[in-house]
Point group: C2
Chain length 534, copies 2
């Protein structure tokens, strides 16, 4: 891992290395190098599975960057979602250059740096769509795309080997809430001039057709504003500023006050208002602490907790444990967000608790109260058709999405003038573009670093394996003191046991439970262990 | 828990106690008592969440039954799914009477008893739809319903207080694969004669309209049989015998051999064939070990592993680790099953591995390759309309489904001659029906018993709490020997650590990972702990 000499990028070779996000959803990060200059695109986190015990966050292995520490000249951010900016506090200490992003993106980075006690000085550089910055041999242009939050950009990077286009996350919303359209024209111009390689979001390649605009949800919400006699409580992602704006506008129209509830919702609403991305007519917003002093039919709450996270506002309300907001019989609670895989059970639990308070639960399977921020197959094809690159690299997805995107791209470009070549890469693959073409040339150190924020940092594989082991069976420590001189026992041996079921199970027989053992037990156990392995 | 005197059921009172399945999906079980007679309906298991460390199965608390041990006269099974029969080996030792079920249901119970070394003697009693059995004051009639497996029944129980109807699991499939129709006529007759209480499945109350028949999937599969040039591998639940029949018929039509792959798939196919529920023309079936000796375009594999269970056949194929079946580029793998909540990530992982083999992945979001076995809102309303009971008790669901079903029922019966009363009960609620009406009269001991099959049995709350604790942080044991006489240290203290990250993280700094700590750490940790609490 700790090579003393890092191989130079060969002269005349453009090197691109995806460090995360190609093989998983999350922790998106990529390095682009020419000669003595490396720029990084995005620095995202991923959230752990339940079997990653004691792990808070996952970031990409930074070895490749650390080895090039002095050559890394800049970090460029496409937008402010956690899977694109969450690792910024971990990456900024590794290099010395600036961090480029739009105003809203950098405003979301700032509180993270504060939390980690990082003083960015003048390193955060605000850019706007259609602006360019020059970094060594690279000219980086920011291009507006539409997504589920404001101020998102794609990148066009002019390099000595040709132009790279990186889409960031996007859909093509043709009626954007803030009137800021996807810059189709710029994509078309780039395609006309010739693009070396396109790196494009693969998240929703499985979905047919067009994702549909954010504004689509307005009908369902109008109906809910009309029919709800108590509080209207809407849970959504705290970064979904367009959803906030749409709901604030409806609340104004239907004479309801708006309260933001939950730490990140309050923080992001404040940032979005300060930067002009969220406009609230005066007198409409109230504080979460004032919700209970208004008649419930006069209130809209925008809250965190759409994923059932137990410490978030909505799950607390659902068990009547929120300091400001109480749910009652006339209220309607709307889940205006998708379920992130892995959270389904926590969400179902929260919904059941809400039902126990007597409130109505509305989900996107019942009414059209959520629309994705990622383009479906037709949108992904459209970007391919516009950009018509020489090489295509699907990014942002598990291998299945990437390979599906590759297949779709080959179909789209089959009869094009330009012969498309797909590079189906994974995290750590070193892509080389030079006069002979492009290929996966080598493999960089790659992987996931599990961060335990309560401890000293990294959680290694061995530690996790031990945790899983003791988690499944508990621990028994035998303390046996043996005399130094005569080798005899000193006192009685002691057994210290935690999390071990044997003794307790026997003691509990009277409570009416069965003892069970069977030949399938070891097979089932193997199942469980294997399940936690990958 | 261990009352020495169990209160008698008051004379003239019918007592119904749901012991599982009202507040969760799974571990369905109910006790019905009159005087000195108790009958049990179903005995199901539930599968653990990933945070229930080292737990293999969950069954209902059996205290209520153990206290009535001598009065329990029979166990009646509605059908052979795990959430209805999985706990039979744990319940049979508690009482002495017979276990009633249809032929296929009991055939699926038998291997479970074998695994647990239970000799059922002559206790398993096969019944057929429209048959009745008399158990003390109860006359139990079995009524055919349609579901995702053959030989499913609802129950009509004549009691001195009136007739109870228990739907079991059902949908109304009007073109059943085996020609055995839902017995609408019997439900109508019962409704005409008058029903005291209806206990009805709530699983799909959230879905509008009609679920649709099993045969609906045939179009998508015909297309796949036509277009697939390699092996066709279909993963489905091993109990889905109708799906098996439909695919066997298509394979016959399209000249493919059929191999059943995976232990439970092979076992259930064998049972279903033996009992005549699955008919395979001679020469069509081949063994899993012979798959590789046929040309791939001549083979259909029906396999386990639709939930991404790592030890099941399909996930093993996906990582090229199955002893018989290899996946290659021309193959198509179909996920013909829903994702059970909690399994989404394991399924996505399996799909990505399959994509790496170059095989096509088809899911029910892409083609209509799966249809639910549970009735949607219109089917649930139809049963209500037919049975038009005096009392209605929604069963099988989390609280949200139950309360939603209650609401729908009130709407359906609002203008009926019979005034409907809903009893929105949960596990352990003691329902009393007598001359004064019906009510939730009391609470029985209730809960979930976590079974660790590799250990001695039960896993208590305290054990699980300890396991979670040590799982998140690891364990450090300090062994300090102190001289008995002088109170001084004997030798050096020793530290034994497993699963603790501190020491290792420091040692690993050179590998290029960041150390992280922040004021949000404790909040995040609280989140994680709370998450594992409910």
């Amino acid at each position: 891992m700790n090579q003393s000499v890092v191989p130079d990028v060969s002269p005349g070779t453009l090197e691109v290395v995806p460090l995360g996000g190609l093989g998983e959803f999350g922790m998106n990060m990529m390095a682009v190098s020419w000669g003595e200059t490396t720029v990084l695109i995005d620095a995202g986190v991923m959230f752990p599975d339940p079997d990653q015990l004691g792990v808070d966050l996952i970031i990409p292995d930074l070895t490749y960057i650390e080895e090039r520490r002095s050559r890394v000249k800049a970090l460029i951010l496409t937008h402010g979602h956690e899977d694109h900016i969450g690792a910024v506090p971990h990456v900024m200490p590794v290099f010395d250059g600036p961090v480029y992003g739009t105003a809203f993106t950098l405003a979301l980075v700032q509180p993270k740096l504060d939390e980690h006690g990082i003083d960015a000085g003048d390193r955060l550089k605000t850019v706007k769509p259609r602006e360019t910055v020059i970094i060594g041999p690279f000219t980086v242009e920011f291009i507006r795309v539409t997504h589920s939050m404001p101020d998102c950009v794609a990148l066009a990077i002019e390099t000595p080997a040709g132009t790279l286009v990186h889409t960031g996350d996007f859909k093509i919303d043709q009626t954007p809430i803030d009137g800021e359209h996807f810059d189709l024209h710029r994509f078309a111009e780039l395609g006309s001039r010739g693009v070396l390689a396109l790196f494009a979001d693969s998240t929703n390649i499985d979905r047919k057709g067009f994702t549909g605009p954010e504004i689509e949800v307005i009908d369902a919400f109008e109906e809910l504003f009309t029919s709800t006699h108590g509080k209207l409580v809407v849970a959504t992602f705290s970064s979904s500023v367009y959803r906030m704006q749409l709901l604030v506008d409806l609340a104004t129209q239907f004479d309801r006050k708006v309260a933001f509830v939950g730490r990140s919702m309050i923080q992001n609403a404040e940032i979005a208002q300060r930067l002009g991305f969220l406009r609230i007519p005066s007198g409409v917003q109230i504080r979460d602490t004032d919700v209970q002093s208004y008649a419930s039919q006069d209130v809209l709450c925008l809250t965190t907790g759409s994923q059932g996270e137990p410490q978030a506002a909505l799950p607390r309300m659902s068990i009547d444990d929120h300091r400001c907001v109480k749910l009652t019989e006339d209220d309607t609670v709307v889940f205006s967000a998708r379920a992130i895989p892995g959270n389904e059970k926590a969400i179902a639990r929260t919904m059941s608790h809400i039902a126990k308070r007597g409130a109505d639960v509305v989900t996107d399977s019942m009414k059209h109260v959520h629309v994705s921020g990622h383009g479906s197959a037709e949108e992904l094809k459209l970007v391919l058709s516009l950009v018509r690159p020489r090489y295509f690299v699907p990014i942002h997805g598990e291998y299945r999405q990437l390979s599906q995107h590759a297949r779709v791209a080959q179909r789209v470009m089959a009869r094009a003038d330009v012969r498309l070549q797909v590079l189906l890469a994974e995290d750590g693959d070193i892509l080389h573009f030079d006069q002979h073409g492009a290929r996966i040339a080598d493999k960089a150190p790659t992987g996931r670093v599990l961060i335990d924020l309560t401890r000293t940092g990294e959680v290694g594989d061995e530690v996790l394996r031990d945790r899983r082991h003791i988690a499944g069976d508990g621990v028994v420590v035998a303390v046996v003191a043996i005399g130094r001189n005569n080798g005899r026992l000193v006192g009685d041996p002691e057994l210290v046991a935690r999390g071990s079921s044997s003794a307790r199970a026997r003691a509990n027989r009277s409570s009416g439970t069965r003892q069970a053992s069977s030949p399938t037990a070891s097979r089932r156990r193997a199942w469980k262990n294997a399940r936690t392995r990958d």
